[in-house]
Symmetry: C2
Subunit: 805 residues, 2 copies
Amino acid sequence: MTLAEPDLDRIDRWFRAANYLSVGQIYLLDNPLLERALEPEDIKPRLLGHWGTTPGLNLVYAHLNRLIRERDVDAIFLAGPGHGGPAAVANAWLEGTYSEVYPHISRDAEGMQRLFRQFSFPGGIPSHVAPETPGSIHEGGELGYVLSHAYGAAFDNPDLLVTAVVGDGEFETGPLAASWHANKFVDPVRDGAVLPVLHLNGYKIANPTVPARIPREELLSLLRGYGHEVLTVEGDDVRDVHRQLADAMETAHDRIRSIQAAARESGTYDWQPWPMILLVTPKGWTGPREVDGVRVEGTWRAHQVPLGATRDNDAHRAQLQEWMESYRPEELFDEQGAPRPDVLELAPRGVRRMSANPHANGGLLRRPLRLPDFRDHAVEVKEPGGSIHEPTRVFGQYLVDVVRDNPTNFRIFGPDETASNRLDPVYEVTDKAFAGEIREVDEHLARHGRVLEILSEHTCQGWAEGYLLTGRHALFSCYEAFIHIIDSMLNQHAKWLKTTRDIGWRPPVSSLNYLLTSHVWRQDHNGFSHQDPGFIDHVVNKKSSVVRVYLPPDTNTLLSTMQHCLASQHYVNVVVSGKQPGFDWLGADEADLHCARGAGIWDWASNDDGDPDVVIAAAGDVPTLEALAAVSLIREHLPELRVRFVNVVDLMKLQSESEHPHGMPDREFDGLFTTDKPVVFAYHGYPWLIHRLIYRRTGEDNFHVRGYKEEGTTTTPFDMAMMNDLDRYHLVMDVIDRVPSLGRAAAGTRQLMVDTRRRARQWTRDHGEDLPEVRDWRWTESGEPRKGWSPSVDVAVGTDTSADS
Amino acid sequence: MTLAEPDLDRIDRWFRAANYLSVGQIYLLDNPLLERALEPEDIKPRLLGHWGTTPGLNLVYAHLNRLIRERDVDAIFLAGPGHGGPAAVANAWLEGTYSEVYPHISRDAEGMQRLFRQFSFPGGIPSHVAPETPGSIHEGGELGYVLSHAYGAAFDNPDLLVTAVVGDGEFETGPLAASWHANKFVDPVRDGAVLPVLHLNGYKIANPTVPARIPREELLSLLRGYGHEVLTVEGDDVRDVHRQLADAMETAHDRIRSIQAAARESGTYDWQPWPMILLVTPKGWTGPREVDGVRVEGTWRAHQVPLGATRDNDAHRAQLQEWMESYRPEELFDEQGAPRPDVLELAPRGVRRMSANPHANGGLLRRPLRLPDFRDHAVEVKEPGGSIHEPTRVFGQYLVDVVRDNPTNFRIFGPDETASNRLDPVYEVTDKAFAGEIREVDEHLARHGRVLEILSEHTCQGWAEGYLLTGRHALFSCYEAFIHIIDSMLNQHAKWLKTTRDIGWRPPVSSLNYLLTSHVWRQDHNGFSHQDPGFIDHVVNKKSSVVRVYLPPDTNTLLSTMQHCLASQHYVNVVVSGKQPGFDWLGADEADLHCARGAGIWDWASNDDGDPDVVIAAAGDVPTLEALAAVSLIREHLPELRVRFVNVVDLMKLQSESEHPHGMPDREFDGLFTTDKPVVFAYHGYPWLIHRLIYRRTGEDNFHVRGYKEEGTTTTPFDMAMMNDLDRYHLVMDVIDRVPSLGRAAAGTRQLMVDTRRRARQWTRDHGEDLPEVRDWRWTESGEPRKGWSPSVDVAVGTDTSADS
């Protein structure tokens, strides 16, 4: 359909206004309406914006506004290119939203001056599409995530259109490349749609982009291979491009609605390509064509600030004035600086404005999850260590209720590991979503599943973030080693959460909940290739107001912890729990109390009568097992030693109150760990983290921490513990070495431990499995293994090897 | 060309032999030649292998052997799919290499039994293609890197053919998706070739793969879009597949040689697609078709161990025997268990065996870099702080010599940042490599460049690893924040280095050298989006035998450090240095001595006469600047205070000797920092790392560390320092708070610091730049700013904003 001239004019006015406001933000301190010739003092002392990508973003935004108005589309806008802030802010100001949330940035000359000045200025706003920007759920600081965020936003929002502008620099990143295939997980019946706009402006910081310099047919072939019907818009004549783009937008929207209508009518669908737009316009379009005799527009030189010396160089400053005047501001803004009515004609109304769409401020839409009481799924624990369960499988049964009771706002994300992680009970009530071909051999794969699995941790993380930031709830389950893949994404999300805590108009969103399993102590069969418990360390470096780390030692504590996390808001919760069968230590009520406290003495494993000779502490399931086994060895061999056993579920409890909101007061900490007795601490991850957390506690020098110290090979789980000196025998040796009062009497016990370790190692090498007394060990008060009962068949042997991809 | 029957038989014998040996490794403890019916005790107690991917790897290996023999090809083999160990090991044993490097695994029945037993068995070898496997440079523990490793190996090896099998699970990962475009950086004149083989066996752990379930035309379109001519081989009839694959291999090789020959004749080339093979065969091909009445071959159930209960279940065990006998082992191995001559007919000779190719054992080929003396590039330093330079730009001039003098074995890798990082002097002697279209506007972009830039940190890292592991030298330059993107890759590489230290037949390779710039203290204009100095923390978690971290405080120390790192072997060296203009503190000889020591007292900044009241220490360029400014403030306001200034370049010096090979003896540490005086330590990264490193030092409780504490916004560099309490004024306050002897006398100074900070903050908000006294500060002995000299014009202002993409 040909664009009528008045429509074209309307779009172009918006485009010019947004471009004018973008340039103003990058350059001006004052004189926003160019009421006088620009003076040096009108110019910012540091020019920190990025012009190159901006006109393309403004162009797409303007055309989306037209589509929204013409067809009453519910749409949001994600700007993939880095430093797209000026464009998003300009559009939000034009739409009035900016002044609504920031009244001092009014829609007049004074507000415009403030708008300009604050951009990339101390105390102002960043150059990215930061959380401070109304309408943003995608900051774009580190590139690669715009499509996965967009798809995350579209899931379960059947009426939503999410437009994602992909920069051609971002196009080269791995996470972005993988996320094109996210379209294979969109259900046109129940999900909304994503409209990718690949903006080929040709250049990065200092280079052309790869997609701009391969044969066009190759690029089109690639995009079609990603499952898209490509609508190309190309040119450098503004009016011509407006006509092409308006047409492409309508065609794309028609196509999306037709796919959705057909699927919704029949209730199902077959895979078919989705539309996308390939937009080819010059980098820094409508900006200075040449500067100092060198071509700028359409080259990498337009990436940041095309005119670099506008404060000192009169010619540059004049060229800036000329550039801004080329947008004919007098046609766009009235004398008071307000956008003229015929500019505002293009703006949608109310929440149809993309800058005011509540989907881009998910806290507004968030409803709490309906959560079952974890006690309904708790396992019965008659005595500590009297039974065994696979913690994550039991949690999977809890998840059945969560999925069933929250049919449109809870999703499980993970890289092909949901079943391996024993969460497959959820397949009683849902499936894995897949829009590609489904065959008879496939299990639990269906058109409308609520579990999303792709072998890209980046895509899973991006989906989860997009889903959360639009007001829903998510669980990300992953092997511990592989979660490092998204370290940098977590970093950005945690910073987003921290920043939005101080933005009053953004209510909290749901927490990002990680369940990490197949953890470092059960990666023995992989050899020494990629095990790493360091994600915890990475997370703990983030601001304490947004991060939480939990290490539930058994099934019921896992349930209680997860219920707490799923109900929480605005945190990153990291929960580490094994999936292998493990002993149950605490009943439901004890587990609940223990988790609420976060750390506590386990009386049944202690014989200190309030005055221990030594404290044995543990955080993590395998460390808890080894520490309790050490306690029972001490009971047997050194019965006179008064031992206190402390378990830590909530790692942040160890910090002081001043460091973390969960931190224990010193009084409480000292009450648990004493101030003067040796503490032998068995920890899941790198041991130094514990020292860091207990920094400046009175008794810190008494702590002796065992954990993962980067030792491993192909061996059994217990041998892995031995290689890292976390095993029960070594813990007993550690106790003996730290309680001098035991004297010579303990020397024999110590030697026995040394000998047993040697024997255990040899046995493992000879038999390929652990020493029988390790496999058959079970907690008893007397320290004697109970007769006629061996958990080892279930625990240590068997053919389940699904601990890796 | 049709495959002659005898050739087909030869390939098939190898294929069967490799499959037999693979199954044996997964299942058998004993009875390797099936001389008697399998008994339970012949079976491993834990079955930990992955059969699914194995036959495909064996198939490709066999056909490559034929190609190598027929055409004398110099080739190596990279197995992308995870857990491909059994295949690689089987082939290496057949070729005799395995027994050469591990004589106890002889090529006879006894050796075969040991070969079988050791696989995924305690004390044995891992299930990945681990460094223990001859011929491997790609372990495949965490998926996604096979293509980037392959291209890294091919660069500057014009005669080498690198075959990379890409699993269709791995295909879904981001890093793999991005790395297809690595072919745009291959120079057919000077580089070797990569032959990707996408093995579509259809399934991951529990799901079909995406590429297997999109329309075939879409997949082909995608692969063509990646720049490949696709040769499809598809079937489940073994002999038919042999014919197709032999044909495809020949065609691919012809095509590669023809591209290379044309380019080498003319000296240049235009972009054209490279061949690749799409191999479609069933998962777990030739394995059990059904188990317990359920289809296994050709489904996800073949991913790991198709027969799970072979030790206990007689039917399973009988089926295993039947399966192994289906390969007709009597035709393959003689009575002594040695491969029969007509199997060995297919094996290439000597170093043409892929398992013995020295390119896959890079330490054999490594030649030390020819390095200039850094003094030839050192800047003249007449007095501390008397001049300013951009450290990385001067290092760029040093790199000119390195590039020129090492024209075939040194490369620079980075994500579009070489110029932004001020290393562009190298463009005097080389260019950025690019095989796509080059236009007039492009600078330093050429067909034969030695700088490789793609906006994928994953691809850069994979390239660097592949280049290093094949015996060459690499520098990876990256913004500090973005290096977290490759955290998990670093993890795997560091583990590879640690493991290979104990493998006698693998000589050391060159170190992986990171130059991290645009660091956390100069990301102020980004707002609070993705800054993070935590890569250091991640690296320090790796084994101390392989990791080194350097924080050179100025230009000459950067030069000295980099020279040291470039000459080193088998480490991961992380060097963090700003690119912005900064003061020179040390002359060349002083810098060399300081770097050799790793940490030391700067006498010219100290007035302690061997007996300080307080130690002010710094690690990192910005912390050093702030700490020295704090010293000068103290000189001015508290002249009676005896201050010692310590600078730390080599972070690992802080650890004890027992923790790190670089660690200082306690005596030396105490000599520097004292055991009883307060130490105010200004550090580049997260402060707790310093506490961790000095753990158990006598004076550890006296350390007060300032560093990055996750605070930031859009502001000036100095304001960033203030937000994190790392600034000079706060350091003076820290000193005053920790030296009680100063008494009331210091209260006025303290208040002055508080007031100055407040004034600095307000000035920044008002003027968009730092307080003049901050910008104009310069080290003098008296503490008085020198007259008539202001570095601020160069240091703090200007339009260089290239600190981000």
